[in-house]
Symmetry: C2
Subunit: 130 residues, 2 copies
Amino acid sequence: MTIAEASKKYEISADTLRYYERIGLIPPVPRNKSGIRDYEEDSCRWIELMKCMRSAGVRIEALIRYVALVQQGDDTLEERRMLLMEQREQLMARMEDMQRSLERLNGKIMGYEEKIRTQREGMPLDKGEP
Amino acid sequence: MTIAEASKKYEISADTLRYYERIGLIPPVPRNKSGIRDYEEDSCRWIELMKCMRSAGVRIEALIRYVALVQQGDDTLEERRMLLMEQREQLMARMEDMQRSLERLNGKIMGYEEKIRTQREGMPLDKGEP
DNA sequence: ATACCATCTGGAGCAAGCTCTAAGTCAAGT
DNA sequence: ACTTGACTTAGAGCTTGCTCCAGATGGTAT
């Protein structure tokens, strides 16, 4: 699979795929005899994983560390587990922030619905935001 | 309340508070006769709201638009409601991405726990990541 | 008066994460 | 043989969201 095909398949620009490889967010992608990347199963699984993690906001730096550990082999299993657990903590913390924000947005939206209804009835509005 | 006190109260640097005001993320903060900001109830509520929204990753640009609409008065209620609903959609979408990522992390962590257990028993490991 | 300290402003600087550019290589088609 | 077009690299540039800095001002303590 060429970079163009991988790019299309995962909806990640070719530039970004090259960038990811350059910085070690995915391991080196095998090349054909003329130096052109050939994305196969393995590279694709990495891309897919990183797309998932990045879309959730996991930091590139943490993911690079993870990839490096995987490439170092089976002595790093424990370290990898710890790294992933730390990222999970951070992810959950962020989701809690978002949950709070979501509830607040819901409250505000309901408030506006009420206000708009009241306004249509020609009632006076109270001032004061937020 | 001075900027130092507000900064401490909300755990946002004074620089950031000034920045937020400068870009319109919060409405202008009233000043005393010598030009020093005096954060009162109203400003504080804005800060608190923005802290919440920003911690959830809501884009500054959207929040600036919201503040501008609030300052324009009651003709913008409907527009504000729509803006908030759009942000809510985006927030929920991101939370879904994070949920997927979280499940994936959980799966990987469990996989590592299993692998580490197996390894301790001196069993051979299969290769292949992720 | 003088020193000190927090505050002010406008603008520069910085980190993360892409995104774009220039110049070069290679395989295929005419 | 020559053009075309996708690929390569190294490096510059961009966006977002702060963060820091320099120089000015003003109230308070000695």
